[in-house]
């Protein structure tokens, strides 16, 4: 992990939507996600989880503040450069899997490479290797609707990994899965984390969040607190938001 120590760094980030009156979806957030870390983001609806995810995933730009993804400042980029950064540095995993319905599993995994201009043979080879890695060897020819939910999510994870991203961004990845399948998918995330991938997971289920090394609690567009989870111990200990540099705006006056 070369250029910078953090996969993502946010400082003083505000995101304001103008729907009649200005709405502060994020209201001053500082957060650093080190490379190789496993972070869960929790919070009730309307707390700014989605906005944070969009910013980290380079889908959106902040109204104020700085977002650095994979060592690059996102705020000043135009749409095209942002799209490229997104394709190269971020791997998305969604609650609803979001596979292309008419493409086979292999083609779905190979899709990001297509937009990067890689040739067909390279793409397919890499996609096949990743499918094997997520335990779907031999399923490459299946269409998404011929796969179970868990298998689909594995395809989505393989696709997220295909460009060697700086971080894996998962949005409720177990939300549409039954408990057992969900546990398997979470095990896969653990494995990927152990192998050195940076994982950011948005969830509202505590047992999912507790798999992470630390949990960022959002409330009303601010970081309420950051909780560290001890490896092997599910209970975890609470701490002030010391990881967030320059002190957390989110920790105070929010009870």
């Amino acid at each position: 992990m070369a250029e910078s120590a953090s996969a993502v760094a946010l400082s003083g980030v505000r995101r304001i939507y103008h729907v009649g009156e200005p709405v502060y979806a994020l209201d001053g957030v500082d957060l650093e996600i080190p490379r190789g870390s496993y972070t869960a983001i929790m919070g009730p609806s309307g707390s700014g989880k989605s906005t944070l995810m969009n910013l980290v995933g380079c889908l959106d730009t902040p109204t104020e503040g700085e977002v650095v993804v994979g060592g690059r400042e996102v705020t000043g980029l135009d749409e095209r450069e942002r799209t490229r950064l997104r394709g190269e540095e971020v791997g998305f995993v969604f609650q609803t899997f979001n596979l292309m319905p008419r493409l086979s599993a292999l083609e779905n995994v190979a899709l990001p490479g297509l937009f990067r201009g890689e040739d067909r043979a390279t793409r397919r080879e890499r996609a096949a290797a990743l499918l094997e890695r997520v335990g779907l060897a031999g399923r490459g020819d299946h269409l998404p609707n011929e796969l179970s939910g868990g298998q689909r999510q594995r395809v989505a994870i393989a696709r997220a990994l295909v460009n060697d991203p700086a971080l894996l961004l998962a949005d409720e990845p177990t939300g549409n899965l039954d408990t057992d399948t969900g546990r398997n998918v979470l095990d896969l995330f653990d494995e990927l984390h152990a192998a050195g991938n940076t994982v950011v997971m948005v969830t509202h289920e505590p047992h999912v969040a507790e798999r992470a090394e630390r949990i960022v609690h959002l409330l009303d567009g601010r970081i309420e607190r950051i909780e560290s989870v001890d490896a092997g111990d599910a209970t975890g200990t609470e701490r002030d938001a010391t990881d967030a540099e320059g002190d957390a705006t989110g920790t105070e006056g929010k009870d």
Partner: protein, 421 residues
């Protein structure tokens, strides 16, 4: 991204909605098919009617009397007004070398050596010089007053044994009466010798008006006001002194002047509503061409409208498709698809629909055109440049109808698109 990959991915989407894509393409298919069919038919019609015919009627001018308001080909709306005496008088005119009538004698069949074939087109009755010397491959011109005929190679070849000069044919006239002709000459072409016949290839038998036309009118009582009066002709052919334009104009003026005056039988018979038209076949051909062109432009115009409707169909279905696939657009953008990639994908889809429509339309149109041409017995013509043009039109239709939908797809916001249900 490479063009081949675009096409591959777009083709996948099209195949995903087979029925919808087929119906969408149908609009373009019908439009292109209509254009191609009528262009093929038009080209065949032109080849059939006009043919390779390069008008070289030398000194001949063709005339008929009709209401000047009647539009149409040679002898359209013609009335039988020219009498034998008129022809003789015209021939006396200084500018005119010769004048004779033109008529067809209805027939049922022709027999040679006991073998009978149907011949509905009849005998072409005219003066000896109607079949010009240089058109004769064998034998000589027929003579007026004799039971003689010049036939063309198509007529000669209709029997098991080819008819040759000196043979005798038996002709069954309309009404059942039979008459005989002696073949004295064979022409070198199967095309018509004058615009009155039309220019297409057909078996033809040329005979003198006397006796064949005279006998027929006597028998049926047409052409003259009473029995005993000589036959009247619908059409006449006059020969100018030479083939240059001035001589032809002089002959034309003199003949029209005489025929429209009260001195002639024709002038007496014609009231103010009729006028004599005299034209060379070059002029007549040009008129015919105008009519054909007009017809073709009209039909191609209609077909172009159906093509427009077809492209609106593509545009419409592409818009539906963009909305329907909003989420897919979001996914592609999330994994790194640029706006131009999305634009290209949807544009490729529209172009594929357009081109596939154009290809099938062309095939269908050619089939329909050839079937039509074959059915009405015209020579087949292959307007290959139109096939190429049709493909280009397919591409253009695809681009024109796909551009706006594709642009809409390209500028879809990925955040909204991913949330889209």
């Amino acid at each position: 991204m490479r063009p081949v990959e675009f096409l591959r991915l777009s083709w996948r989407s099209i195949r995903g909605h087979r029925l919808r894509s087929t119906l969408t393409t149908l609009g373009v298919i019908i439009g292109v098919a209509a254009v191609i069919a009528f262009v093929t038919l038009g080209a065949s019609l032109q080849a059939g009617v006009v043919g390779e015919f390069s008008p070289d009627d030398g000194r001949n001018v063709y005339g008929w009397a009709a209401d000047p308001d009647v539009e149409g080909g040679p002898a359209a709306g013609a009335q039988p007004v020219f009498s034998e005496a008129d022809l003789e008088a015209v021939e006396e005119l200084e500018a005119v070398e010769a004048a004779y009538g033109y008529a067809t004698v209805g027939t049922q069949a022709v027999s040679y050596d006991g073998e009978q074939v149907a011949q509905g087109d009849g005998l072409v009755a005219s003066g000896p010089s109607y079949v010009r010397e240089e058109r004769l491959a064998e034998g000589r011109q027929f003579e007026t007053g004799e039971r003689e005929a010049v036939i063309n190679p198509a007529a000669a070849g209709r029997f098991e044994e080819n008819v040759s000069v000196g043979d005798e044919l038996e002709v069954t006239l309309l009404g059942g009466a039979t008459t005989t002709v002696e073949v004295v000459g064979i022409t070198d072409t199967n095309e018509g010798l004058s615009p009155f016949e039309g220019f297409e290839s057909a078996p033809r038998i040329y005979v003198p008006t006397d006796p064949y036309y005279a006998e027929q009118t006597d028998g049926l009582g047409i052409g003259g006001e009473g029995a005993g009066e000589s036959a009247r002709f619908l059409a006449i052919v006059i020969e100018a002194e030479s083939a240059d334009e001035e001589a032809i104009d002089r002959a034309r003026e003199a003949a029209v002047g005489y025929l429209e005056s009260d001195a002639s039988d024709a002038g007496e018979l014609m009231d103010d509503e009729l006028a004599v038209t005299m034209q060379t076949s070059t002029e007549l051909l040009a008129q015919l061409q105008d009519v054909l062109d007009l017809l073709q432009n009209f039909v191609v115009g209609i077909a172009a409208i159906s093509l427009l409707v077809g492209s609106i169909g593509i545009a419409n279905i592409m818009l539906v498709s963009v909305t329907e696939r909003t989420r897919e657009i979001g996914i592609m953008k999330a994994v790194g698809a640029q706006n131009r990639d999305v634009l290209g994908l949807f544009l490729a889809e529209a172009v594929i629909l357009g081109v596939v429509g154009a290809i099938f339309g062309t095939a269908l149109g050619l089939a329909a055109g050839y079937l039509g041409a074959w059915y009405i017995d015209l020579p087949l013509v292959y307007p290959l440049e139109y096939v190429a043009l049709a493909i280009v039109v397919g591409v253009l239709v695809g681009i024109a109808s796909g551009l706006y939908p594709a642009w809409r797809a390209a500028r879809t916001d990925p955040i909204d698109a991913l949330r889209y249900e």
